[in-house]
Symmetry: D3
Subunit: 250 residues, 6 copies
Amino acid sequence: MLLHLSTWLEVEAYLETSQGIILPIGSTEQHGPTGLIGTDAICAEAIAHGVGETTGALVSPTINVGMALHHTAFPGTISLRPSTMILVIRDYIACLAKAGFTKFFFINGHGGNIATLKAAFAETYTYLAEIGVNNADQVQCQVSNWFMCGSVYQLAKELYGDREGSHATPSEVAVTQYVYPKSIKHATLSTEVGKGHPIYGPVNFRQHYPDGRMGSDPALATPEHGLQLYNLAVKELSNNYLEFVGRAIA
Amino acid sequence: MLLHLSTWLEVEAYLETSQGIILPIGSTEQHGPTGLIGTDAICAEAIAHGVGETTGALVSPTINVGMALHHTAFPGTISLRPSTMILVIRDYIACLAKAGFTKFFFINGHGGNIATLKAAFAETYTYLAEIGVNNADQVQCQVSNWFMCGSVYQLAKELYGDREGSHATPSEVAVTQYVYPKSIKHATLSTEVGKGHPIYGPVNFRQHYPDGRMGSDPALATPEHGLQLYNLAVKELSNNYLEFVGRAIA
Amino acid sequence: MLLHLSTWLEVEAYLETSQGIILPIGSTEQHGPTGLIGTDAICAEAIAHGVGETTGALVSPTINVGMALHHTAFPGTISLRPSTMILVIRDYIACLAKAGFTKFFFINGHGGNIATLKAAFAETYTYLAEIGVNNADQVQCQVSNWFMCGSVYQLAKELYGDREGSHATPSEVAVTQYVYPKSIKHATLSTEVGKGHPIYGPVNFRQHYPDGRMGSDPALATPEHGLQLYNLAVKELSNNYLEFVGRAIA
Amino acid sequence: MLLHLSTWLEVEAYLETSQGIILPIGSTEQHGPTGLIGTDAICAEAIAHGVGETTGALVSPTINVGMALHHTAFPGTISLRPSTMILVIRDYIACLAKAGFTKFFFINGHGGNIATLKAAFAETYTYLAEIGVNNADQVQCQVSNWFMCGSVYQLAKELYGDREGSHATPSEVAVTQYVYPKSIKHATLSTEVGKGHPIYGPVNFRQHYPDGRMGSDPALATPEHGLQLYNLAVKELSNNYLEFVGRAIA
Amino acid sequence: MLLHLSTWLEVEAYLETSQGIILPIGSTEQHGPTGLIGTDAICAEAIAHGVGETTGALVSPTINVGMALHHTAFPGTISLRPSTMILVIRDYIACLAKAGFTKFFFINGHGGNIATLKAAFAETYTYLAEIGVNNADQVQCQVSNWFMCGSVYQLAKELYGDREGSHATPSEVAVTQYVYPKSIKHATLSTEVGKGHPIYGPVNFRQHYPDGRMGSDPALATPEHGLQLYNLAVKELSNNYLEFVGRAIA
Amino acid sequence: MLLHLSTWLEVEAYLETSQGIILPIGSTEQHGPTGLIGTDAICAEAIAHGVGETTGALVSPTINVGMALHHTAFPGTISLRPSTMILVIRDYIACLAKAGFTKFFFINGHGGNIATLKAAFAETYTYLAEIGVNNADQVQCQVSNWFMCGSVYQLAKELYGDREGSHATPSEVAVTQYVYPKSIKHATLSTEVGKGHPIYGPVNFRQHYPDGRMGSDPALATPEHGLQLYNLAVKELSNNYLEFVGRAIA
């Protein structure tokens, strides 16, 4: 059940049986010479919609732009500052919590979002109590990264080994190929690829990762892999979601 | 050319010939008993994509959640605070302006966004100069509301007259029916509908507009109307965009 | 009844019969070669005081500095950022709402304030509810622009036609001449005057409007016009105010 | 020379000979049963205008609302939060410093403003350097409290002794009586008056100072005293201002 | 009783008999050629611990970094902006007030903190009421500067006369020598020392105070003086603290 | 070399040979019935001082209060909000980076700080570039958690196995016993201890972890273990620090 394709009456009815909601969150950032700038949002959205279908959960619109400041030396990247993103997450949750939602399950497509999301959750719990939201103490937020699902991780290792890398990976590119087969990009990738450097600021990042990839070989990706990975992620995250909303507060 | 389906190399190439970008912005808010919560984002996104195809302009991911605080007494509504939204817009533009974009054309689907967008533009111009962005003085932002296009407005009047109303209108519902024909909703609408009350806070809003509509009769909408309205909006906004990016700075 | 010339005991008594207050808001910004930098505040204050006398309403001190960032390339302009102004408006209303005021009628002298004021109102309604102000749901804010009163607009058209322009207009200059006859300024105005350019950042603004006027011929202004315009504005806004405070919440 | 009664061309000319500006700042807060709510702004404004006339300095519009949170349990008080006021001061100075002003002389009418003003000055010096304002290192801010002028203080002691108190004082009331003789208020003042309690939050303040006075007997005030105090303040602050702007940076 | 060396159960027990807490606050800033960068924090902490022992009061961890922006042209200085420091103080007090503390006694070692602390207290009182903290109206904050204790001031005058100065003073250096005798520094101090210049921005400060001292001769300091000063401060502040917590609210 | 025990001249000299600095960061939060509230700060400080001695690095004052909102239902806990902590870290780094430091090595004693620290680093890199700090692109921040050192982790497992738990652990308690042997606390610990529950808001946390421990048995701690753990952490983090500052930017 997609929030943007529902009416408020349908949401009102939904809340009578569930207080859970899935929030896909991605990023709008460079993904190497062949990866789509929307990769993280595309993956998170597709998988979240799959989880929503599997579980009957409500799915919010996708948060397309996340925390990608370290990619901003590449054109096309859009990033919120962490301090802005904390306010965005707080505003989302405050609106939904006032309406009665208490279980916020973020399906995340971008590693760079995790720290700020966790900071935002902590900020929000206290904020909700301070503004007197009913059931503030019942609110629970969880971030689940599709690419860190055990089953996904294992398949990626089998398919790509060390060439999976950690950004612009063949696994995430594969999922986008499955979702947008008409947008498969081709380019000659240098055999040398940056890897292993810690992430600091945007200029430093581009110095060490000149084409945007981090140790990955996205040329290995295929739409078929994408479907496999998608199915694994949907299955595993559906179970996670059900466990999350079924977990008793007390 | 959709940003999320492009690579950073494609964006780099695009910037050599154009510094313009289209940013669709909508809202996630109640739209009456039959209107989709995503109506404003759906319309803005569809029309922005049409304008992008017509003009060759780059289109950013849709900003799905805007300023809809007055709708937050209806479940399913998500809103940024104006102060948060100003930061979000500032962050978007700062990233893109650093990369070389100077012409920001927002295609907006929600009247409630206009004031905050204008505030954000003013804030951002000064901010860009203060942080030393190259060409800060060339940056120009414009908000174009598809529903206020002359051609759109005229057709809506012809089709619906006074029953167009001002929220959950048949014209916007028609566009969503064209875009998502499988998500057409049906409900018995009361013949009485709130209208003419100024907009204050969320509780007051719901008191005066108990089912969420503002003077509208969305039952008049059809997907065929939606297509007509869509075509008019795309045509008019394409011309507006071209004029906007062609206008010389000096 | 002017707040700054009242005691708290008088305010306490006032609140027993009315919860309405008028807040004049202007700007401190260039108004062309002959317009006073305080034009917008002077007009708003004079008219607000007139409305206060006519209606018996309490009038707050004038907010002299508003949102005029686009004029900041001219010396003497002072502007709040929109994000600052939202906090200022929020603080004003929060203090007054805690004391029992619920009807906030802003008499505005500057078009550039409107967007930020509207954003501030939305921000404030939700804020008041969140901090637990009694009667938060009764709080209503309205911005009334004296220069957009129907009667004022019509007289300006009759007197000045197209030479009214949209900034440093003869009508607003006329009101300041009526209020401060000793501060009437003279300068040779070029016959060419910028007009029709959208408003972007401050440097761009000054490029297109080199002497600060926007399509106006303030040399047409006279103190006698000012008195006429003042009287029309006071009459119309007094009616608006009475309607505003008399309007039942339910 | 009053900024609000000047044109930008006059300010441009002024800047060629002086980079100093006087900013009157008051407060909008209860001043006991007979003191005007605008007392602090009225005094600061009148004295600042006097200093402007004496010295030829430019005087900005009065900042009418300052930091008066501790008075907010009395109706009619309006206060900025300190965090808001810091932004307001920063915005004022940033606009003026970009235009070339470097010497900011605040004439203050409210003790409660001092701490926040000093905090704002520190914040602003660093801010101006960070946003790259020319001559940021030359910017100097000073707060001068008219009621702490040696000559004023001495006369107040002579006239009123211990009955001067520290809020709603006869000396400040006298100045308002001189400026607004038609607004002299009368009320029976209890002989018991709160005094000597530290200032904490607004509820606590009203408990200890039930009618708003702090150890003062404003019934002693006369307009004639007001004129004397005004003259002393103008004379002393004019000297202070001239010393301030004449002081070499190096 | 030191908070960082206590358990939460001990704090819970403490709260049954006292709602007071001592918060040492210093600064991390240059203190001339021989003064320790931590001077202000070292003094505040040592004296606060002494007061805690004398009175049985709970003492929080030391706030090591305060408002020292004017010293930031000297390497090693770390400063919060005033706007940041207000949030820090607010967060500290909010946590402790929610737990039941109502009397906040700041022992301060740095004059530059005073203004921002006072601003923070005002901000916090209103904030606590707005977020609905129990007993918000009972919360009281006080800043006590050890170097302004009458007994300390008198001894410093006796020992050092005018060579006490106002920054990097022999009295504060003496206390650090008493606390950290192994960290006594030696350097040839120029006989000329800046004095009497108002404090503006950091570059200006360093121009007038090139070695960081303000009119002081820290070579006069001895650890024995330090012990004397420490004892006087502890005694006087212990009395102040007991008076502060014993003062009835009503 | 401890910053608070150094002079600015010593820091100036230090900067000629190194641009690295170690910043200990802990927390002030409940650590179960026997753990000290300052545990995380005590451990981070002691180990950071050890690393400073081993490597000759400069060590800043300890950040005693971090992000511990989830512990705030236990009295004695003090926490910054994440949004505040981001500003604090930004202010620290901005001051030090302006002075020439480029390598910021945070030795962290609290898992709850990690997310917010990472968010703060990202925020700060972009901020430094925007405010025009020299060498902004060279600035690098790293957080190293002493309790996650491989050698420490292994010893803790050997000593305590599953009874190490994840909060109020015997290993961190042991380090505090080594550092503050006079503050070893004793209490009867229930054999049942909460474990395995995700961390949400403070009320929920206390429900699941009623005495504050998370799966740990701190009764196993001894000062001798503390010394062993301390030595391992100092050794491993010293190597990490040297690698960090020796790593070439390009």
